[in-house]
Each structure stands twice: as C-alpha cells, then as structure tokens.
C-alpha cells in the first residue's frame, strides 16, 4: 500500500515536471542574434552599443515577412555594430509579455514586427518615455514611436496584373483556357484585405471579365490547409494563385509545384523556392524598414510620431524581375508581361493609376 502511494507521487511528480518543462519550452524563446553579450545589466541607453529588440508575431523561417525583417536587422548589426535580440512566438498570448519585457529590460529600440503589435504598443509605449519604439506594417501615434507602413496594395496591383496576363497564355504547360486566378491569405486581417483589393483591381485592369477566387486559411502557420485551399482553387479552374500567408504560404507554393501550375510569392523574393513554379514575388522591403529605423536611432535622427511610407515609388514595394521563371520557361516566356508591368509601375509612380485601399484601412 505504502509503496503504491509512493509510486503514485512519483508519477504525479514526473508528469508535472514534464508539463512544466514543456510549457516553458512552448512560450517565448528568446534568441540572441548577436554573439551573446550579457543582457542582465540594464544599462539604459548611454552605453557604447545600441541595443535593439525585435518582437515577432510568429517565428523566423517563414521565408517571408519575418525573415525579411530579420535580414534588415542582421545588416544593421553588421553595419553599425548594434546588439540585436529577437523574440519569437506563434502564441498570441506571448506577444504582449515579450514586448513589455524588452521595454523593461532597457533596450534602446524595441520594434514590433507586424500589425499585430498595434494594440499592444498603444497600451504600453506611453509608459516607457525613454525607450524608442517602432512598428512595421502599421501605424501607431506616440512621441516615441516611428511607424513604417507599406503600400502593399500597389504591389498586389502589379501582381494581379501579371497573373491576369499569365492566365491567358494557354501555350504554356499548366495554363488552362479559363480566365480564373486565385488568392490565398493567412488570417483574415485588414492588411491582407488591402493586399486583396489591390490584386483584384490589378487583375480587372488587365481583363475586366476575369474571375478571382480568394480564401483565408485562418492561420499563418498551417501549410497543409494552405495547400488544400490552393488545390481547391486549382480544381475550380485557377492556374495562378497568389499567397499572402507567411508559413501557410509554403503549402501554397508546394501545391503549385506539385500540380504543375503557378503561384505568386510574397514579402520576400520567393521565386527560387520552386524555380519554374513561381511566376513572381511581391517583395515588401520589410528589411529596408527595419534597417532604416535602426539607422535612425544610431545616427540620432529618430523622429517620434512619424509615419514612413514604403511604396512602389521609393522602391519599398516591388515585383521581382521574373528572371527565374523566364529561365525555366525559356523562349515560351511571354515577354509582354514584363514590359506591361514596367509600364504599370511607372504609371503608379507618376500617379496616373491610383490603387485603392481596403475600406477603412488608413492609407
């Protein structure tokens, strides 16, 4: 009897320690990108090294938005010798605590990477007047906050136009006779709708009678769902599907490769993930935004309460030059697409084409 109770206690203890161990593993996992210097000494600001923290609403390795921000931080680290700390988590409950802990730890600059940090920053930034903050992909007002926004609708306009032209090139293998294109998004959030509005406008600009299928996976990290949604759109007659879905998007791209159809990449240059299956990528230069804000802090030009727009005009948003698919398709590649895209790009730059925003999305 006694032995049994002891066993029971042992089992409970083991189960409990496993539980504790795993929950701790699940939650925020701070990873230092720099060559680990002591972080506990909370020397605020005045030190030799500028300390920068990036908080992600996801994880690195999405080959998309987050990786792009990471690239900018790495470049700034090399150029200015700043210390960079990155906090990643897919759990939305961790984002706020990650962000606040970095502000508490006395970092000089804390960057909220993605619009998910909007509410968190509104709530907490006023409490840390000595810390500089920045948000990427959204806008938050505050004396110590710099915002970097992207005109993703303009890039999507170009992507939509490219897709609409490509779906009519029936001599290319994998293109059917139907004028249908697709679009798969991650979570149903306003930024993604802004992408979609531009995509639809661009496609309709080329072919007013085109049909555009769209779907949301409800997650930024479910490639299986992304693949299934894409396959469903291919079954419905689409042959080019754009992904705006971070980790879910890898499933979209894989579906394109497997079906012998085409996809469009997003955020980073994704053309090389499956060469020949990806028509082009809408590159959102999150790296430029990240790099610039760090540069501003280092050079002392940080300007609070300012909104910086990265768009087609200043090169913050662009389509890739399609060189990868050009190489894969050889002389079958329709060169009229690149000329048309160049033409449209200059028209957007000159303001001749005005790309709409999602209703209520502050442009």
């Amino acid at each position: 009897m006694k032995k049994q109770t002891r066993k029971k206690w042992l089992a409970t203890f083991l189960a409990f320690s496993l539980l504790i161990g795993t929950t701790m593993g699940c939650s925020s996992k701070p990873s230092t990108a720099s060559s680990g210097t002591g972080q506990n000494s909370a020397a605020t600001g005045s030190g030799k090294k500028v300390r920068v923290a990036l908080c992600y609403s996801g994880v690195l390795g999405d080959k998309s938005f987050n990786d792009s921000a990471h690239a900018g931080a790495v470049k700034a680290e090399k150029d200015f010798g700043v210390e960079v700390k990155e906090l990643q988590s897919t759990q939305s409950s961790d984002w706020e605590s990650n962000f606040v802990s970095m502000a508490d730890a006395g970092y000089d600059l804390v960057i909220g990477v993605s619009s998910q940090f909007e509410d968190i920053m509104k709530k907490h930034c006023p409490q840390y007047p000595n810390v500089k903050f920045a948000i990427l992909d959204d806008q938050v007002s505050g004396k110590n906050i710099m915002s970097y926004k992207f005109a993703q609708n303009e890039g999507s306009f170009l992507a939509g136009a490219a897709a609409a032209m490509f779906t009519t090139k029936t001599d290319i293998k994998g293109i059917n006779s139907q004028k249908v294109i697709g679009w798969v998004g991650g979570m149903d959030v306003p930024v993604l709708h802004d992408f979609l509005v531009g995509y639809e406008q661009g496609a309709k600009y080329i072919a007013p009678d085109i049909k555009i299928l769209h779907a949301f996976a409800g997650s930024f990290s479910d490639p299986v769902k992304g693949k299934e949604l894409t396959n469903a759109q291919y079954d419905e007659g689409a042959d080019v599907v754009m992904n705006v879905a971070s980790g879910t998007g890898t499933g979209v791209l894989e579906a394109a490769k497997e079906r012998g159809a085409f996809a469009i990449g997003v955020d980073s240059n994704q053309d090389n993930i499956y060469p020949g299956s990806i028509l082009t990528s809408e590159v959102k230069h999150v790296d430029v935004g990240t790099y610039n804000v760090i540069k501003n802090v280092v050079k002392g030009t940080f300007k609070g309460d300012s909104v910086n727009m990265l768009d087609v005009n200043n090169g913050g948003i662009q389509l890739t030059d399609m060189s990868v698919i050009k190489k894969a398709l050889g002389d079958k590649f329709p060169s009229d697409i690149t000329t048309k895209i160049e033409d449209l790009t200059s028209q957007i730059k000159s303001g001749k084409i005005k790309v709409n925003h999602y209703q209520g999305f502050t442009g």
Binding site: L10, A15, L60, G182, G218
Partner: protein, 319 residues
Amino acid sequence: MNFGKIFDYTLIYSTIRYSTPILFAALAATITQQADILNIGTEGIMLISAFVAVCVSYYSGSWLLAILAAMVIGVLMAMIMAVANLKCKADICAIGMAINMFALAVTKFGIKQFLGTTGTFTDPKIVGVPKIHIPAFDNIPFLNKTFNNWSFMEVFGIVLVFILYHILYRTVWGLRLRSVGRFPMAAETAGINVTKMKYEVMIISGIIGGLAGAHLSLGYTQMFTENMTNGRGFMGVAAMYFGGMNPVIAWIGCLLFGFTDTVGNRLQGYGWPSQFVLMLPYIITILVVSISLWRHTASEKKLKSSVIPAKKVKKGGIV
C-alpha cells in the same frame, strides 16, 4: 455561384486527401479506446513522427527508412504514455496533454538543432512517399482526377481500416481486447493478461500514430512546419468517438470532416465569409461528438436493462 462546379467529381479525391491524416489519427485512437485508454496524445505522437520522418528522409534520402523511423519514434512516445499510465498509474489525459506539449517544444528545438532553420523546413532533398500513377487513366478525365496520383499512404490508410476491423471483430485477439476494454476484471478472471494487452495496443497505436505523422510531412506535403498537425490528432479522436470504436464508422466520420472542409474551401473561393467557412469543421466536430455520445448513452441504457455486462465478457473470455 455555380453549384455544379463545387460539387463535381474532383471532390471525391479532395475528400480522401484531406481525411487521410485524420483517419490515421482516428485509427490510432480507436485501437487504444478498445482497451479503454483514451489516447489524446495522438496529436503529439503525430507531430514528433512528422518531424523525424522529414529529418530521416532529408539525411538518408529514403522515404521507407523515414517511415520506419517515424513508426519507431511513435512507439517510443506511446511507450512513455503506457509506462506512465499502466505502471505509475498516472492519469492518461494528463500524460496525453504532456506528450502534446512536449512534442510542440521538442520539434521547435529540433528544427533549429538538426535542420538549421526555424518555423518551416522545405528542401528538394526531402524524398516524399511516391504517388501511384496509372498511365492508362491519363486520357479519361474522371478516372485521372479521381484515381490517379494517389499517395501510397492514402491507399494504405483505407486498407488499414479493414485490417483493423478484421483484427478487432474477427480474431480471438480482437475479442479479448474488446473484453479488456469492457470489463477488465472479468477478462483477468478469464485468464487474459490485461496489462500486457494494454501495452500491446499502445505499441500498435504508436505505429499508426507514426504513420499519421509521416503521411503529413512526407505524403501530404514534403515539409515540416512547427505545429503542422494543427489539431488533426484531436479531430481523429473525435472521429473515433463518432465511430464508437468501430474503425469503419470512424473512417466515415473522417470522410465527413474531409468533405465539409473541401466544400468549405471551395465556397470561400466564391466569396463566402472565411469566418463562417473556417467554423464548419469545428461545428461538425461538435455535432459528431454529440451524436455519438447520445448513441453511446442510448446503447448503454439498453445494455444495463437487458443483460449484465459480465456475462457478455465471460463468453468472450472462453473463446
């Protein structure tokens, strides 16, 4: 909206494709439930096996080896659960949850440690499970879209349903297993080693769970992403309840999940609000579990009123 385009024959294969990962999970849960062990650790077993499968396939270039490794790791995880539950008498639900959380954390660590990346891992060097291509079907659109290019695992999943059905309802071992689940004391009296039986089903469950993971990362896709199971293990458990531990009915439950999800995916394309469509699989899960529980309580009542359960079990023990 064109209903003809949504409900056409390509729906058949889409349904199979979507339901297969859930099916494997359901079968893994079914076999343990027959021995009265609620295996909610399926989700975690799937996730770890998916990771190991990708790792082994990437480094060895052999999908067969990868599946084997996935099954081994599946059994290992199942054995942790079995020892904790049967030897140390820990609550099976707590242990299952611990396994699920452990899987999330350890794969997150492993993807960084062994594959040198974070989040998602894709590489052309990952060798997937081959697809069965029948050239004769190529020119007939219906056959081509419905029966061509099935993954080997999709076929095996369906075969496995009937293998398990046969084992459970047509063999002595199956009969004994069911008696262990219904009334362990009576089974013990009839000379069945209950503990051994429970270990055996956990091993089988680990093997099937390993297959589920390998299918997800090598059959369905050729990649690994953090938390790529996304609740599919739990949906498998729901399908098991729907089937009332019968593999064939559980399979039908899985097909139901697959069907609603594929139709949902197509409806989204036509402008149905994503919030509504994404809700469908969960509504179906709730419905399915409620119906099966209602059926379960109804049959329980009948059982109690007519015969005492011990009599039934003893009959099983003698065979």
